[in-house]
Amino acid sequence: MTGVERIRAAFAQAGQERRAAFMPYHAMGYPTRAETLEIIAGLAADGADLFEIGIPHSDPLADGPTVQGATYTAITQGTTVADCLTMVRELRDAGVTAPFCAMGYYNPIFRYGVERFVADAAAAGIDGLIVPDLPPEEAGELEPACRQAGLATIYLLAPTSTEARIRQVVQHATGFIYLVSITGTTGVRTELPPDLADFVQRVRRHTDLPLAVGFGIGARAQAAAVAGIADGVVVGSALVKAGGESVDAALLLGRELIKGVQEARG
């Protein structure tokens, strides 16, 4: 199976169970390398369907303070792009089978070498790429490399996306589409926008790809609400913050969020 197929299968599996897929984000190398591996393996064992594998960057301009702080810590501890791929390989060797989507800004990938990165990522066990500062217009090098390696190119859409923009982006997307719930950076919000369901529907009219919603989701009730309207629920900052306290805190929150997603069983 290719990465694209594994991602589609994970969403299909959740769909068969009449629920949304749960996709935690983790900042690789935070708070330490060992805890990163424990948190991801633990969340997988508890039922996470897919993962966002956060590759740290010095200038994460789409991220709020929690992820900024975590990725900064990871970098200062020496976490490199190659280390992230090594950790992915170790997780695969340890039996974690859930699809992994690498989430990283473009410059570290570009510097690593786009083709080389895609090949190495696929070999390590990555299934798709999310590059938040790379719109399809600029992905002329990344897309063919991903097609060749079978990796999904996962694009984001936002509440500000126009109909024309949605039509354009969905043509380039494979695997799933990542819907940004709010206009803003990553980080927990007390409330999600009231028109989120409309936004999901607006995109739904243009594509059959699974639609996962992220940004701002941090509590069980929010996870349940989003699971009721989308095919996937992404949680980042809240889990990163908990992971900064302890592995157990992250896994405890992860189980709460999974319950939230399951409560919305349709």
Binding site: D59, Q68, N107, L156, A158, T160, G184, T185
Partner: protein
């Protein structure tokens, strides 16, 4: 052997419609901002062809900014260096004391007249762009927030107070190196969050398309005036210069004076980067001068030369001048350099301070530390040129804001 004839480049044709200057430029931003960039481009292109808008901007440039700024013959500096005749384009005499007002006023007016937005965010390094933006916002009655690294707030304290006096909220940025790059990150984060009401008034010829071209256009008034002042005015030398020298941080003052001269291929165009404590130790902001750290990359929306480590993390830069202390450079500069049309060199902190002192002592002008880098390069360049040759320096700003830094450095001078 016949010389290779190349087709003259139509510099006005760049960037292409996706915002690329050759392999540089483009739009590397989160999806949330893509519609805002399209909207900005549309508004700007409409304004550029709107006679009423351009007339209002020209009126404000004349009656509020004080344009045209003069060209001054630097007689004593010329005599002291003993080579080419030196002229100074006096952007330090523009209202707010630097060229930054040309772009700030242009974008603020664009927002006010052509875009349905009510709030401006901006970044600032040296504080000159922040002051220019705060000034434009006060003039036009617009809410304004400026992000500034806390390291820069400390070394450019007078400008922080100036912005606050002008009714702008200055927000200190504590992340990363606490300088210009980090201020841009925070301004972009604010813009992503408030994009429906807010325009990001980017201060240099950087960032995603259409900023590099739009900022260049607003700054090109410098070169357009200089063309006339050098070539035709009775107060000038009566001919175009042999070389133009400008400092390059993001590169807005340089592209502003260079651009109208691009078609005059005999005029050398020289950009001066910040050499900091020297290239070898890595403590500098000279993107073109350091082949190890200065590589093709993507930072804050645009592809250009970026100071970075081998893992693609952005390097911490150093310059005595806050306005040049930035890890990337405007994409058009990178492209013009590839064409062989512009050339780049650097001045260390020490050379810039020498230029600063010379201009104070010999011309009675206290330059901004940014502009002092261009003056510092004259110490090498002018004596190599013949006495009937002419150099035009873009004196991009005045140095009042830098007195604290200079006083601290006094013992070392």
């Amino acid at each position: 052997m016949a010389a290779v004839q190349r087709e003259p480049i139509n510099y006005n044709a760049w960037p292409d419609e996706d915002g690329h200057f050759g392999p540089y430029g483009g739009k590397f931003v989160p999806e949330t901002l893509m519609p805002a960039l399209d909207e900005l481009e549309e508004a700007y292109l409409a304004a550029r062809n709107d006679r009423e808008f351009m007339a209002e901007l020209a009126y404000l440039q004349r009656t509020y900014v004080g344009r045209p700024t003069p060209v001054t013959y630097a007689a004593r500096l010329t005599e002291y260096l003993g080579g080419a005749q030196i002229y100074l384009k006096r952007e330090d005499l523009a209202h707010t004391g630097a060229h930054k007002i040309n772009n700030a006023l242009g974008q603020a007016l664009l927002m006010k007249r052509k875009m349905g937005k009510t709030r401006i965010v901006a970044e600032t390094g040296a504080g000159q762009h922040g002051v220019a933006t705060a000034t434009s916002a006060a003039l036009l009655g617009i809410e304004c927030v400026v992000y500034m690294g806390t390291v820069d707030m400390a070394r450019q304290e007078p400008n922080v107070f100036r912005m606050r006096l002008l009714g702008t909220e200055v927000r200190g940025v504590e992340s990363g190196s606490k300088t210009l790059k980090d201020a841009i990150n925070e301004a972009i984060r604010d813009w992503v969050t408030n994009v429906n009401t807010t325009h990001y008034l980017l201060g240099s010829a950087l960032g995603p398309h259409p900023y590099p071209a739009m900022v260049r256009d607003f700054q090109s008034i410098i070169g357009q005036e200089a063309l006339v002042q050098m070539g035709e005015s009775d107060d000038g030398p009566g001919r175009l210069p042999d070389a133009i020298v400008a400092c390059v941080g993001g590169g807005s003052n340089a592209i502003g004076i260079f651009h109208p001269f691009l078609a005059y291929e005999d005029v050398r165009l020289i950009g001066v980067e910040a050499g900091g404590r020297g290239i070898e130790g890595g403590e500098h902001a000279a993107r073109f001068a350091d082949p190890e750290m200065g590589r093709l990359g993507v930072l804050q929306g645009t592809k250009s030369f970026v100071l970075q480590d081998s893992d693609g993390q952005i390097a911490l830069t150093h310059s005595i001048s806050a306005g040049l202390d930035y890890a990337s450079v405007g994409p058009e500069h990178a492209w013009l350099r590839d064409q062989g049309r512009t050339e780049y060199t650097y001045c260390t902190d020490e050379q810039a301070m020498a230029g600063f002192r010379l201009l104070c002592d010999l011309e009675g002008i206290i330059p901004a530390l940014e502009s002092a880098h261009a003056v510092g390069h004259l110490i090498d360049l002018a004596p190599q040129m013949a006495k009937d040759q002419i150099i035009l320096v873009n004196l991009s700003g005045r140095g009042d804001k830098d007195l604290g830094t200079v006083m601290g450095d006094w013992g070392a001078v």
